[in-house]
């Protein structure tokens, strides 16, 4: 058996990270490091209202008094927060109105990433906000959406044009006091997307933000805020990539979602930050706080994530189920290979009556990687009739990786029904032999088996992205098993 394992590991070779290129574009950088002046400088550069500057400064003051969390099952060398550049912007007009104004290099970059920014070439039915380093470079289909009263723009524009709306909700789900990285993000976030769907409106297209890190030595701190008013519906997609570099780059984002009465929000992520090389050099440190508030009755929130990138992932998209009969879902595939580490999962906090939540987590570990599921299901005293179902599976490829599960249940209401199932499996020699005997190469077989294993989650992704995600899973394991 050990021999078989060896064969599998040998055959898992290093894949090529196809998004590892760098765009050669003049970039405006501010000096390295962080202090109050840097926070003010970022706010000034973006021409923000005073309340925003004050909010940032308060967050910064709070951040200085907190420490990097160490409870995750992650082994990370200390991060020197004074050695990071907190703002990097492609040096051109800060935001482009028409395509003629967009730097051709930028267009080429996003084309290469498969994200055409010209509306006539764009993916059918997807509006994109493209963020490069610290700024949003282009938002497509903005005018068309505006006709329905939908606001979809960069956070910078939102702070300028919809300041009161942003002020009402920003930090209402993830306050800067929430955790170390949320505080840092609140102090220095540079851009991101804002989306507001008015009452009763069903957003006619997928909204999407594509995050790209380009400049070296920088961190990316984006902030996304989605508000679905009463009876509104929106499906939101997020994609991320970064160049191949030997240094570790920091990405600390915050996503907040508010769903009012009868509203529904679906948030899907395909996270493919540069994962580092085969020896574990370089790669993005991905510390993300994502949380949604099901504020009104019957509101629904669903998180779907496919995590294949980053050297380190620390991320727990969560649902606070405040409204009666509201529901939260979390579907996750987290794949780690080589020396990647992931500590990811969710929190489902049941506050309202008859609230429901569902967790399906599929971890895949290969190489020398470590992959942890961490979850919390909390049922408050008054949450009568709350129900949760959790399924946490781990798939192990080879014998040098780790798969861990840390589920926490905190149930304070006797009428609650909470179920938890967990399995751990291995890609077996017999499965591979069976596939080989039907004419498939080992690499293809592994891709097929892994995609089958992740199917319940991939099915939750919007069509176009499900196909991409399938390819990505196979690619991420290329040369990893065989």
């Amino acid at each position: 058996m050990a021999e078989g394992e060896d064969r599998i590991i040998r055959q898992i070779a290093e894949r090529d990270y196809q998004y590892g290129f760098t765009t050669d574009i003049a970039t405006e950088l501010i000096p390295r490091g962080i202090d109050e002046e840097v926070v003010r400088l970022i706010s000034r550069k973006k021409g923000e209202p005073q309340w925003m500057t004050d909010y940032r400064l308060a967050a910064y003051a709070h951040w200085r008094g907190t420490e990097t969390p160490t409870w995750a099952h992650l082994d990370i060398p200390p991060i020197d927060f004074q050695d990071i550049i907190y703002y990097a912007a492609p040096r051109t007009a800060p935001k482009y109105g028409s395509m003629e104004e967009v730097d051709p290099e930028l267009l080429k970059t996003f084309d290469k990433l498969g994200i055409p920014l010209e509306e006539r070439m764009a993916l059918a039915g997807v509006a994109v906000d493209a963020v490069m380093d610290s700024v949003s470079v282009k938002t497509t289909f903005k005018e068309m959406l505006a006709e329905k009263g939908i606001v979809f723009c960069s956070m910078s524009e939102a702070l300028r044009d919809h300041s009161e709306l942003v002020r009402r909700y920003l930090g209402s789900v993830v306050p800067y006091t929430d955790n170390f990285f949320a505080a840092l993000n609140a102090a220095v976030f540079s851009d991101g997307s804002f989306c507001y769907i008015p009452p009763g409106v069903r957003c006619p297209m997928e909204l999407s933000t594509y995050f790209r890190i380009n400049a070296a030595g920088t961190g990316q701190f984006e902030r996304t805020l989605i508000v679905a008013d009463e009876g509104a519906y929106v499906s939101y997609l997020e994609g991320c990539t970064a160049p191949r570099r030997d240094e570790n780059q920091l990405h600390a984002a915050v996503v907040e979602i508010v769903a009012m009465k009868d509203a529904e929000v679906k948030y899907s992520t395909v996270q493919n930050w540069y994962p580092g090389d085969r020896e574990g050099r370089g790669g993005v440190y991905n510390f993300v706080t994502k949380r949604g508030l099901c504020k009104g009755e019957n509101s629904r929130l669903s998180w779907t994530q496919v995590e294949t990138g980053s050297a380190v992932t620390w991320k727990y998209p969560s649902c606070v189920l405040l409204g009666d009969n509201s529901s939260g879902e979390f579907y996750s595939v987290a794949l780690t290979n080589n020396y990647q580490q992931a500590d990811t999962g969710t929190k489902m906090v049941h506050l309202g009556r008859n609230t429901r939540s569902r967790i399906v987590s599929k971890g895949i570990s290969a190489g020398h990687s470590n992959n942890s599921y961490r979850g919390l299901v909390r049922v408050a005293k008054r949450a009568d009739g709350a129900r949760n179902y959790s399924q946490c599976d781990s798939l192990i490829i080879g014998s040098k990786c780790g798969a861990h599960t840390f589920p926490t249940l905190d149930v304070n209401n006797p009428t609650a029904v909470v179920e938890h199932e967990a399995t751990t499996s291995r890609i077996g020699e017999e499965q591979l032999f069976y596939c080989n005997q039907r004419g498939m190469s080992t690499e293809d077989a592994v891709g097929l088996i892994v995609n089958g294993y992740a199917r319940d989650v991939l099915n939750k992704l919007p069509m176009e992205f499900a196909v991409e995600a399938q390819k990505l899973l196979s690619l991420s394991l290329e040369g990893s098993v065989g």
Partner: protein, 249 residues
């Protein structure tokens, strides 16, 4: 099509095959019989390329090529099919998807384009009917939750889809009730052509009532100790293996 000379193979240092000689030509059906532990399944596994076994001596050619220089998948694409005694489950992968992949790998090897979706679906429908396999099975995950009989039917369904030149059927009859046995065996017979060959590995002669062999080989202790025609199988049924083994000793 298949030529085996003095083949020796072992697992974990224990020799299982101790000098096998066998020739299989196009159009033929061979049955390999023998008591438990005689090496029947090992022979099939070694020919298909299962790396648990080590070939220590001898040679084998498939379509004139040294079979041990071909990868498992290359042997499969060239037309070697193993019907598994214990078919493997692959959760989440539908039979349809699995078969599409397998069929197109073979077509690629033959220099053909992938089969258009419509043709593929039609082909699945037709071939599933050969073994009376419920169409719905093709949208279920590979062997997951299949009964013993369904798994064996599913093996022959895959054989029908892949149209191998040489099929090695490893105890396809084990665990089948009499009706399922008839369906599976009739299916195998219907797939017979002058161009292909079948090697049936079995304990019992009852399968050979349906799949009529040209040759019956008795494998004992890693060697073929006797070869005959169909009457040999009937004789074994009556007299058991012991008497034949005693005669050959």
């Amino acid at each position: 099509m298949l030529e085996i000379r003095d083949l020796h193979a072992s697992v974990e240092g224990r020799e299982i095959l101790r000098g096998i000689d066998l020739s299989v030509r196009a159009g033929e059906v061979h049955a390999i019989m023998g008591p438990n532990g005689s090496g029947k399944s090992t022979l099939a596994s070694v020919l298909a390329g299962n790396e648990r076994f080590e070939v220590t001596r001898g040679e084998a050619t498939f379509l004139g090529r040294n079979i041990f220089e071909m990868s498992i998948e290359e042997r499969a694409r060239a037309g070697l099919f193993l019907g598994f005694q214990y078919p493997v489950e692959i959760p989440g992968v539908t039979m349809a998807n699995f078969m599409k992949f397998a069929v197109n790998e073979k077509r690629k090897y033959q220099g053909l384009d992938p089969l258009p979706a419509g043709d593929f679906l039609r082909m699945m429908r037709e071939r599933a009917a050969i073994v009376e396999l419920d169409q719905k099975m093709t949208s279920r995950a590979v062997n997951e939750g299949f009964s013993g009989g369904e798994k064996k039917k599913n093996e022959i369904f895959q054989m029908a889809m892949l149209e191998p030149l040489l099929a090695l059927l490893d105890e396809t009859d084990s665990g089948l009730d009499i009706d399922a046995l008839r369906v599976v065996a009739t299916g195998v017979t219907r797939l017979r052509t002058p161009q292909n060959a079948t090697v049936v590995i079995t304990h019992y002669q009852r399968l050979l009532d349906y799949i009529v062999p040209d040759y019956v080989h008795v494998l004992y202790n890693g060697r073929i100790i006797h070869t005959g025609d169909r009457s040999l199988a009937l004789r074994l049924e009556e007299q058991g293996y012991d008497r034949l083994i005693a005669e050959q000793a």
